[in-house]
C-alpha cells in the first residue's frame, strides 16, 4: 500500500510530467463529442461524464488537476456531459484491447503475486479460480509488466492487425496501435463504416477474430477435400493451422485432443504423405471427416486472436488517452506506428520520467528492465534508482520514498 508521502510524491512527479508534456497529448477525433473520465489517487471511483471543447482545455485541466489515469470514450455523443441515458449516442470507433491477462504466456506470470482476501494465503503466478487453502475466490493481485507477457501481447496484436487488414479490409491509415502503459496494447479502428455498428454486430466481429462458433464444414471441409493453405480468410487459417498441427503433433498430443486410436495410427503411418498431400487435396481424406473436424477446430483456436471481448462489444467504453500516464506504472500510453510494431520496445519508448534518480525503500519487486539495464529483484532494500524504475515500483505500491 502506498503511504501518504509516497502518494504526494507520485502526484508531484505526475504534475511535473503534465506541465512539461501536456502539449504532446494528441486530441481524439471530434474531441467535443467524446466523454472523458479520470481517476484521482485519493478517490476510488471514476470522475466521468466530462467533456472538452478543444484540446487546450483538456491540457489545462490535466495540468491543474493531475489525475492518476485519463480516459476518453470510443463513442461520440451529442451531449457527452449528460448522464448515460441523455447523452445521445452518435456512433463509436471499433476498439480492441489485447492484455497479457487474457493470453497464456510462456512466463506463466511467475512475476505476479496474489493474496487471498479471506485467509491471507499468498501465491505466485496467474491468479487461481479458487484459493487452494480456503476455497474462496476473492484476491488481491499485484501484477508486473514483464517482457515475455508484453511480447506475447504484441504477437497477438500483430495477428489482429493482419485480420483487420486482410479479412476485414481496413486500410493501414484507419488503424492505430498503442502500448497501453501496463501489460498490453490497444487498437483503434476509426472508419465511417464501423461507427454505427451495434453491440450485436461488434460481437460478431469479436467472434470472427477469436474464432468463436467457427464450424469447419462452412469452410469447405468435406469428406475427401478441405481448405487449402493459400485460401482466403478463415479457410486459409484453418489449413495453415492444421499444417502446423500435423507437423508438430506427437501420438501423445493426438491422443490428448481426443482422437481415436485408428485415426492416430493413420496420421503416424502417413506423416510423409500428409505433408505431400497439401499439393493436392490436403490431408482431410486420409484423416477422415471426424478427425479432420476436430483438428481443424483446434487449429482455429491456435490461429485465433485473444482479445478482451467485453471492450470491443461495449459501445460506451472509456479508453486510456495517448501520452497520458498509467497510474499503476508511471509509464505512458504510447502510440506505435504499424511499421514499427514488430521492433517496438515499451521499456524504452513508453518511459515518461527520464531524468534524475530517486531513493526508495522497496518491499518486494521482481527483476525489471528499463532501457538496456536490468534492476532487481529487490526485497526489503533501500536503493537509489533511475526515476523511471523508481516510479514504476512506487506506482505499483511496492516501495516508499526515502527523504
Amino acid at each position: 500500500m502506498k503511504n501518504s508521502e509516497t502518494k504526494t510524491f507520485i502526484k508531484r512527479k505526475f504534475t511535473e510530467y503534465y506541465k512539461k508534456y501536456a502539449s504532446t497529448i494528441p486530441p481524439p477525433t471530434s474531441i467535443e463529442k467524446r466523454e472523458f473520465g479520470f481517476l484521482f489517487e485519493q478517490e476510488k471511483i471514476m470522475f466521468r461524464h466530462k467533456s472538452f471543447r478543444n484540446v487546450d482545455d483538456l491540457r489545462e485541466f490535466l495540468k491543474a488537476r493531475v489525475p492518476s489515469d485519463v480516459y476518453y470514450s470510443g463513442a461520440y455523443y451529442e451531449k457527452p456531459e449528460e448522464e448515460m441515458e441523455e447523452k445521445v449516442w452518435l456512433g463509436a470507433d471499433l476498439i480492441f484491447d489485447i492484455d497479457a491477462d487474457h493470453i497464456p504466456t510462456p512466463c506463466n506470470k511467475i512475476h505476479d503475486k496474489w493474496t487471498c482476501n479471506n485467509c491471507g494465503f499468498v501465491g505466485k503466478g496467474a491468479t487461481p479460480e479458487k484459493c487452494p487453502s480456503c476455497g474462496e475466490a476473492r484476491f488481491g493481485e499485484k501484477t508486473w509488466p514483464c517482457e515475455v507477457c508484453i511480447e506475447s501481447a504484441k504477437r497477438e496484436t500483430m495477428k489482429l492487425v493482419e485480420v483487420l487488414m486482410d479479412d476485414l479490409g481496413f486500410p493501414v491509415e484507419k488503424i492505430s496501435v498503442s502500448f497501453s502503459g501496463h501489460r498490453g496494447y490497444h487498437l483503434h479502428v476509426e472508419s465511417d463504416e464501423v461507427l454505427a455498428l451495434d453491440p450485436m454486430a461488434r460481437k460478431e466481429i469479436v467472434d470472427y477474430i477469436e474464432g468463436i462458433g467457427l464450424e469447419p464444414e462452412f469452410h469447405g471441409l468435406e469428406k475427401i477435400s478441405g481448405p487449402k493453405l493459400d485460401d482466403l480468410g478463415w479457410r486459409g487459417r484453418i489449413a495453415r493451422g492444421t499444417y502446423d498441427f500435423l507437423l508438430k503433433a506427437t501420438p501423445e498430443k493426438l491422443e490428448e485432443v481426443g482422437l481415436q486410436k485408428r485415426i492416430i495410427n493413420a496420421i503416424e503411418t502417413h506423416k510423409g504423405r500428409l505433408t505431400q498431400s497439401w499439393k493436392e487435396r490436403g490431408p482431410w481424406g486420409i484423416i477422415g471427416i471426424k478427425g479432420s473436424t476436430k483438428i481443424a477446430q483446434l487449429s482455429a483456436q491456435s490461429e485465433s486472436v485473444k482479445i478482451d471481448t467485453v471492450v470491443t462489444t461495449d459501445i460506451h467504453r472509456l479508453i486510456r488517452l495517448t501520452n497520458t500516464l498509467h497510474g499503476k506504472t508511471g509509464l505512458k500510453k504510447t502510440e506505435v506506428p504499424l511499421t514499427m510494431l514488430e521492433h517496438f520496445d515499451p521499456f524504452k519508448s513508453a518511459i515518461a520520467f527520464r531524468q534524475g534518480a530517486i531513493t526508495v525503500l522497496v518491499s518486494e519487486a521482481p527483476q525489471l528492465r528499463l532501457e538496456d539495464e536490468t534492476y532487481g529483484p529487490y526485497k526489503e532494500q533501500k536503493i537509489e534508482l533511475p526515476a523511471a524504475v523508481a516510479m514504476l515500483i512506487l506506482c505499483k505500491g511496492a516501495a516508499k520514498v526515502v527523504e
Binding site: E136, A137, D167, D198, A201, D207, E222, W234, V310
Partner: protein
Amino acid sequence: MTEVEGRPVFTERDMAKYPFISKAAEYMKPLDIDINELSSSDYDKILERAENRIKEAILYNLVNKEWSNDAVEISSFPIAVMIVAAADDSFLKRRYALAEAKRVSDLLKDERDEIIMGIAERFNWKIRPARIHVGSLTYDFALHFTDFLKNATFIQDKKWKLVNRLVSNGEVYLTKSETSRLLEEEVRRYVEGKLDTKVGLLPQSITDRVDRLKHLFMEKRGKIRFEEFPKGLVIAAFPPCIKKSYDTIASGHGLSHIGRFALTSFLISIGMSVENVVDLFRSLSDFDERMTRYQVEHIAGGRGSRTKYIPPRCDTLRTHGVCPGMNEVCKRIRHPLAYYRRKLRTIRTEAPGERA
C-alpha cells in the same frame, strides 16, 4: 429493366414486384395521396388488393406473388402500409412486414443479377458481382462486411455467423439466394419503419377495412399470448449458465461483470424482487449495499432510463465466457429465459411438487 448509363432503371413490372424501389418509393408516403379520393370506385381494386395483402399476411404469413394489373399492384402496397399503420398493433406490424419481405426474397431468387444489385443499392449496400469458385461452392456477390452484419445478426443460424463466412478484403462472399435472404431482412426492417408512421383521420371505407383486419388478426392470434412467469423461483428450471452463476454467488464467490448482469436481469425477469436479489449478493466479501441496490434497481428499470433489462442471448454469453457448455435443452433455445419457460412446462407436467 433497362440500363441507362450503367444505372438500372426499373420497369413498371419491376416496381409492381418491388414497390419500394426508386420511383415507386414516392408512393410510399401514403399521406401524400389524397385519401378522400380513395373511396371512389376507381380505387376499389387498389383497396381490395391492399386488404388482401394484409389478409394473406395474417392467415398464411406471406403475400401472394401473383397479380394482374401493375398499376394496381404498385399502389396497393403503400395503401396496405397505411392500413396496418392505422391498425396500430405491434404484432400485426411485425407479421405484415415479415410477409412482405418474404414475398420480395422469393421473387429475388429468380431475378437477374442486375435487379438484385439494383435493389441492394436502393438500400445503399456496398455490393459488387463476384462470380468466383471456392472449393465446391460458387459465389455470386461480394458485400461489404458491415452491410452483411447489419442484416445477418437478425438471422439465427450458424451459417450466418461472420466467422463461418468467406471474408476477404472487407467483403463477405454470398450466393444469389443468400443475397436475397439478406435483402429480406433489409426489406423487413424498411417496411417496419414505414409502419411506424402516424396516420391521421381516414375515410369510413378505409376504417371499416382496418377494423375488419384487426378483428381477423385477433381471431387468428387467439390464445397466442405472452405467458407470464409463475410466482416463485423454480431453480430446477434454471439454464446451466444461470445455475452456475447463482451457485457461485450463493456460496460467496465473485462473478464477472457480465455474469452478475446476466444473473440479476434473469432473476428480475422471472419475478424476483429487488430486495431478494440484493440479499443474494450480501454474502460477498466486498458487498456494498448502496452500490448493489443501485445497480439492481437500474437493471429492474427503476432508475435512469427506466428500461427494464433482460439477460443477454445465449451466443453473447458464450462470447464472454459465461456459458459453461450446452445441455440438450440449450440446443433448442437461444435465450436463457426461453430455457426457463420451456423447462417450467416440462417440470410442471412431470413433477408438479418440485419447487424451490
